[in-house]
Symmetry: C2
DNA sequence: ACCTGAACACCGTTCAAGT
DNA sequence: ACCTGAACACCGTTCAAGT
């Protein structure tokens, strides 16, 4: 419909896509404005037409990382399932947990999973205040453990992490089990908060 | 005892102390090798005689932050008390949670509180594997929520954080209550893991 | 044992100017 | 509407050399 001018320029989406590819190749420490600009074959200053600063750009990338897929079918309203799928989306991107953690802390990112966790907690019988706290607690657990896990694997690539680098293949394999075990404890604690009300 | 030469030079401790004062004044983003060197009235390159790189220096600072005080008297062997005192030490230093989080993730820091949490969990009847997971879960909760809290106060200073900057004085005051409420849930979950064993 | 001085290869951000 | 080119004020790290 729009008469597209001879040479198409970049839009926000293209910048975010370029940033995601730089992130995948170089990790968060290597995600510089200059490298993103190189990826787009553009001057660094061009990026500042699309985003006011680097943090805003990172927030847009974070949004992509934590976006829920199709909300339609399997909206599995289960605390553990929601937390586990958040973990999986963070693990799907290099340094995903650290990236999301900082956008979140700066107040630049809404976490769809958090909303789902809160309403699920409400449905399980928590009062409003407790449901909010339960959602935050789960989010902190997921981001904290995933951040730690991603940094540990990165450290082992670098070869750092002296004594405590217990990264035998077997141990890597069951990091998911450790996550699930800790998650089960947190969920049990949340359920006990529901039980202490005069539910059912 | 030692014949101290005319002009005393710096040692590791002096470098760490300078770093802590720069951290207090400028926060983690402002904690650069150059500023630390300025504080000591020394060239930047001098710092590399004491520490191989910046991360190692930050790890030494982190160690100071999380060090337990006198281990003698009130070694209150209570999960919530240990977690709360860890939170307080992190809050006592600007950007303390973020600093410790990264040193920890890089495997450059031992967390004394974690050891205490693990043995306390054991004493409460958890098996070895569960006690380790319980300790990690608590550490993730404490660091995650404290990190978030410290970033939020910093964001409010900067004036960023648009809509969700719910930082009324009252709300700041009860962030400790929110922490305690989430902590209670996690601890309850850990206790339920102890109960599921054939304890007592 | 501890530091200087200078260099290298980077950063994020701004701004006038172009098309 | 989107980009260039150049500049500003920074970074962490290395290394030969000094005392």
């Amino acid at each position: 419909m729009n008469a597209s001018p001879a040479s198409a320029r970049n839009d926000r989406g293209a910048v975010v896509a370029a940033a995601m590819s730089v992130l995948a190749e170089n990790g968060l420490p290597g995600l510089s404005m200059r490298r993103i600009a190189d990826e787009l074959e553009v001057q660094v200053s061009a990026l500042y037409w699309h985003f006011p600063n680097k943090q805003a750009l990172l927030a847009a990338v974070s949004e992509q990382v934590v976006a829920l897929g199709e909300d339609t079918s399997d909206a599995a309203a289960d605390l553990a399932a929601i937390a586990t799928s958040l973990r999986e989306r963070l693990l799907a991107h290099r340094d995903g947990a650290e990236l999301v953690s900082s956008s979140l802390a700066l107040g630049l990112l809404e976490l769809p999973s958090r909303t789902r966790l809160e309403s699920t907690a409400l449905a399980e019988g928590l009062d409003a205040a407790s449901a909010a706290i339960a959602a935050d607690t789960l989010v902190h657990y997921v981001i904290g453990s995933t951040f730690h896990e991603q940094q540990r694997t990165h450290a082992s690539v670098v070869g750092a992490a002296d004594a405590s680098a217990d990264l035998t293949p077997a141990r890597v394999a069951d990091s998911a089990d450790e996550f699930a075990a800790g998650l089960a404890m947190v969920v049990a604690g949340i359920r006990s908060a529901a039980g202490s009300r005069a539910a059912r």
